[in-house]
Symmetry: C2
Amino acid sequence: MTAPVSRRSGGRAARKAIREAPLTDDVRPIRPGMEGGRYKPLSQEQVEQIHEAALKALETIGLADAPDSGVAYLTGAGAAQGDDGRIRFPRSVVEDALAKACKKITLHGRDPKNDLELWGSRVHYGTAGAAVHMVDVNGREYRDSTVQDLHDAARICDQLDNIHFVQRPMVCRDIADNREMDLNTIYACCSGTTKHIGTSFTEPDYVPPALEMLHMIAGGEEAWRARPFVSNSNCFVVPPMKFATEACQVMENCIEGGMPVLLLSAGMAGATTPSTIAGAIVQATAECLAGLVYVNAVKPGHPAIFGTWPFGLDLRSGAMTGGSGEQALLSAGCAQMHKHYGLPGGAVGGITDAKLPDMQAGWEAMCSNVMAGLAGLNMVYESAGMHASLLGFCHESLILGDDLIGHAMRCVRGIEVNDVTLALDQIAEVCMGGPGHYLGTDQTLLRMQSDYVYPSLGNRMSPKEWSENDKPDLIENTIARKERILSERSAARFDPLLDAEIRRKFNIHLPA
Amino acid sequence: MTAPVSRRSGGRAARKAIREAPLTDDVRPIRPGMEGGRYKPLSQEQVEQIHEAALKALETIGLADAPDSGVAYLTGAGAAQGDDGRIRFPRSVVEDALAKACKKITLHGRDPKNDLELWGSRVHYGTAGAAVHMVDVNGREYRDSTVQDLHDAARICDQLDNIHFVQRPMVCRDIADNREMDLNTIYACCSGTTKHIGTSFTEPDYVPPALEMLHMIAGGEEAWRARPFVSNSNCFVVPPMKFATEACQVMENCIEGGMPVLLLSAGMAGATTPSTIAGAIVQATAECLAGLVYVNAVKPGHPAIFGTWPFGLDLRSGAMTGGSGEQALLSAGCAQMHKHYGLPGGAVGGITDAKLPDMQAGWEAMCSNVMAGLAGLNMVYESAGMHASLLGFCHESLILGDDLIGHAMRCVRGIEVNDVTLALDQIAEVCMGGPGHYLGTDQTLLRMQSDYVYPSLGNRMSPKEWSENDKPDLIENTIARKERILSERSAARFDPLLDAEIRRKFNIHLPA
């Protein structure tokens, strides 16, 4: 009995030495852009049925309410405006746009190490949304969200390995003027993180001053255009099947300014799309295809993310819900359509209807996040921090989302099968004359860091250890981590000279 | 504007009427045994590589420690015992067993409405395990689990639509004698639920008295054998690659007594199986194939569930962990192997390492549960209530698990695609001259109950409603539901005459 015991101790000491060494990038078990796609909610035949229905919807129903400029672009591309004002799209027009469309999008970070490469089934998770409340976990309270909350969220995201981009998740309700709000949103996000940022614009006229600020941050227009680190989240459509006139004009301005566009169709199944999952995906697909024609008519090959974002509805109440199984299926089904077109795409995951970061929040957020990842969704938006069916944003949930998404991403990475991982030699060695366990084998030691993801805040103590350690509370520990992050000097902050210059030109609400 | 508004009100009234009608069985959105399988963590080539490696392991490494009776059965079937005592299995012996094995298992409930049909990718969720602690949520305390806790768990399961079977989840630590514990475990479960029950036996000698009790409950041996409502969860193997001598003898007795068997290989990746996911699946598959040869040598076609249950390990500490992404992949990968063989199979899902039903518990339990279901696992064991990496069981988590699993099962059901769900006509009607929304369409009303799953305890209120309703707390509401269930008279309880008879023959610890 002594031999195995001493071998085991040897294993422990070796494990201890390895785990104390910092992780080099090549052995990190997960990273942004891991390849998903092993979950296919739709058969190939079903994908084609949805595609055909979407084409037919574009051909026979079309979209209303395009702005004049859009009518010109779209009819120029071969679409036709009917007597009813609707723009209808012959199949060939859609096919032309699909041929021209940008198939590989790089979303730049202000720091190139945070660049995201959107193609294939590469999966990225990040924030998004327009929450109007901040969730105060300590006080169990919902209050208006502010620009400081937004900036803090960006700073927190900057420190979380598994949050890969920062699309504006909440509205700065302390800034009444929409122009100032839009500009301060960009400032609050960009000064908080060097990851890619997504934002939206209330009016087309707010795009030029935003570009002015972005040129300053980038160090000139040329530098901005070379590596645009902010994209425009654009609700170009008001489902069902109507263009959002002003948002389309915003989009034209963003394309002109070299800003990537997220073509966002945010219908609600049962209210603004059909109540069936398939029907909601058909309509969202049709709408985004119309958007794709539009973008490529304005500028062929301009980077545009195919943003089919159908939401669930609680049909009993008519209120939105984002934490359901139906929601998870909607997004996973959309991911498969993106792949069918070979287009970089995004949809929602991670939303909860829970008001606080409780068990419901955990199961709802995981379900849609892991299914989106397994389906190979390129951009999983709203994946952390969103509560109350998108009405509230919570910093603590965002931080816990880092653990949750790391866990999901490990699943996306999947199972490697080769002679080494099949481990037949190891099984033989351990069982026949060996120690009868695998604790000290080289393979076990080697895999400890390269194959396994460990939670930061998730607790794996035994009940005894947990009790001896005063029963650590998940939320209290998360609050402590939040305070630690926010107390540190952010590496993403602007150079003081640049900051002063921006503040001279714009009314920045955040204190200097 | 008045027309759409009045139509919308009409829709609301109609929805209200429909939602107040009780759900008939044909419109229930989810039910036990929905077909999964759209998630395939392994490619077909990888499945075959694992299969080949498992066959090779059986051929060249084999299993040690078979009891004498097992050696006779196995060599009788064509396996060979080497000088080292290990039983090795030529490929043809495994293929013979696969040909003979029971491919369609019905797990009976004491009430036939609870029968489970295990084949294809039909998915069922239930409890299992051997927790030694009960989680006291109010006191944030772990205490020894008792026979009353077990009985209460069975009674709670009986009331939860999405818990489909009740395998004993915890050990009655208040019963010191193992024989009495095993018999009281059966009594506590059977008197609490009419769903299918799983249990285990400490020694082979305890099987005959258990069968005696089961014959009494069934109304005679013939009735028992016609519809055995208890199966034997049998750890026939001590990984790596050793038979568990006594458990094999238990198994022989159970087969003799007409009791279905769960062939349970519970290795731990990195300790008792290789640390790689593929290697752990290879070894579990090899072990269960050996068990399959054994069962079919004792009695060809005896119902045996292929129980590849590899667990994860935290390689840093060497302690078990069940709440990881690696765990979810282990179980989903196993599900695919079961399907490769066309055998009814089971593995674990739903475990959390969290000590309490917090957000971590939610995300961990959902991840492995939904992935197991999407992979088409027939039996998802330990899917609700298991905390602290299986050391603790929690009634409140069990109840919340009903919501969580309902949500997962909705995802398993997947996306239906046909002319009606594609909804092209509906889109046309709504958009062109219609109301511009889908709230009042027939399809929306019809789908409200047949397509959508609503949580019982999960909260979908808006922040305003939530606040007006005194901010309902998830755990407090769950405790209230638990108390309500346990205060009601159970329909599963035994007839008083039968109960008295059982109590005359056996030392029943639960009060009459």
